[in-house]
Symmetry: C2
Subunit: 270 residues, 2 copies
């Protein structure tokens, strides 16, 4: 095990760049994971851990976590506290970091599931992470990121997902034509979620039968008209009271919940 | 109309203190509201607007909003851009601010509604604002903040609520004994939301009949055992897949949704 005490160290600077820059992550197909639990989640999920960094204090405090992480890590480095600060994107760092390679499909790909979700152009990493966490809690096993979504492997998205990013099947697909064609070949009904009271209320769909893909759009502007045109039908959340809309994350939670609530083999009653 | 060009101006410093300090807000029973739409929401809601501040640019861009705000504002000040920066808590300020007095009960108090929600010790202002926004969208008219909740009039909570804080009936009550006794006198069943799979599933409750109060706890630690003990029954969200819990905001969204979903006179089918 090596020890790193300088913030100028090349290995540390390479790792820090993955935390701060989405371009670095995409170019090198790597990402940096922070926190004992999250690093353990990554190690357990089968993601390739290239390097592990930890402080002396973390070595004492998070020994059981580090044992599992180091068992699969290509290399390990003890780092000084001020070096850990360079790697950290949190206020109170636990001092545990993993540099990982970015797999083609995160958490496996499950095309046979009856219900999947497509997120288009989602921009906020906190929203994305939270939606993935909710999807996992509600039993979803396949989420697609369509178009120009934010990076699911950014520090903020990873943190908000509580590791769900490593376990929910997550596939990035820039092309709406390609993705919609694939989902249709799988025999799915494609539903576009829109804030339109004339659309099909989500409470009226029987998700327990058949195969479904629900499309959820960007925080500010919703789904693109091009994607809506490729879907079979429009779906909406019925609302009471003032016509004040839900925020993106609350709307996604309700849609995911209604899909799971229906029961069937993947629903929570199944 | 006066004009303020100095950041040392006493009136401006008083207003800025309301934005940055919860203690100032509580002590003076006033708050500062930012943004054309949010200030208009405040003005329309009957909150007392003591002073309005706006930049020259805002006067052009948000004239229709300002007209409504100035009609009810006690005083108005045009401020220089660098003065507006002092008042602002956003990255891209619209340059419109209202200093308001903090009413006893925000948005009115409706004790006759069949469904209400109690939030205990909620700590994150973004969560609180989002829950209020969701509550409004789903037709709720009474929310209680129990114990030591974060400030619903902080800039972050106001922003996340999209003005719902001015329209949903919102009552702050530090004492659980007092609040629970009141809710029981109103003939309500008190349900404590807990992450416990042995509790009553929220999908099995018929919220369309009778009167209800659902208690939702703190982000990290849930409801206090003292509050749980004062409730009639335990309520839970059934989950599929991994026993990974939902985050506080997602759990609250699902609970509110299930209460509204039941229909009846305040539900969305009613």
């Amino acid at each position: 095990m090596d020890s790193i005490t300088s913030r100028q160290n090349k290995i540390v600077r390479e790792a820090a760049a993955l935390s701060s820059s989405g371009e670095e992550r995409r170019k090198r197909r790597e990402f940096l994971c922070e926190g004992a639990r999250l690093c353990q989640d990554a190690a357990r999920s089968g993601v390739k851990v290239l390097r592990c960094f930890f402080t002396e204090e973390a070595q004492r405090k998070y020994a059981p976590y580090l044992e599992q992480i180091l068992a699969v890590s290509g290399a390990s480095y003890q780092v000084a506290d001020h070096v850990a600060q360079l790697l950290s994107s949190t206020k109170h760092s636990q001092g545990v970091f993993c540099q990982c390679s970015w797999p083609e499909t995160l958490g496996g790909s499950e095309k046979t599931v009856s219900r999947c979700v497509v997120l288009e152009n989602l921009q906020d990493p906190g929203n994305l992470g939270t939606i993935l966490r909710t999807a996992e809690a509600l039993g979803f096993r396949q989420v697609y990121l369509l178009g120009d979504c934010c990076d699911p492997l950014s520090p903020k998205a990873l943190r908000a997902s509580m590791g769900a990013v490593f376990r929910v099947g997550l596939t990035v697909e820039p092309s709406r034509e390609k993705l919609c064609a694939q989902l249709k070949r799988e025999g799915r009904v494609l539903l576009a979620a829109v804030p339109d009271s004339a659309a099909l209320p989500v409470t009226k769909v029987d998700f327990s039968q058949g195969k479904w893909a629900v499309f959820i759009g960007n925080e500010g502007s919703g789904l693109t008209s091009e994607t809506i045109a490729l879907c079979h039908d429009l779906l909406t959340i019925p609302m009471a009271g003032r016509a004040e809309s839900l925020n993106a994350s609350a709307a996604a939670t309700i849609l995911l919940w209604e899909m799971a609530r229906a029961g069937g083999k993947e629903g929570f009653h199944g």
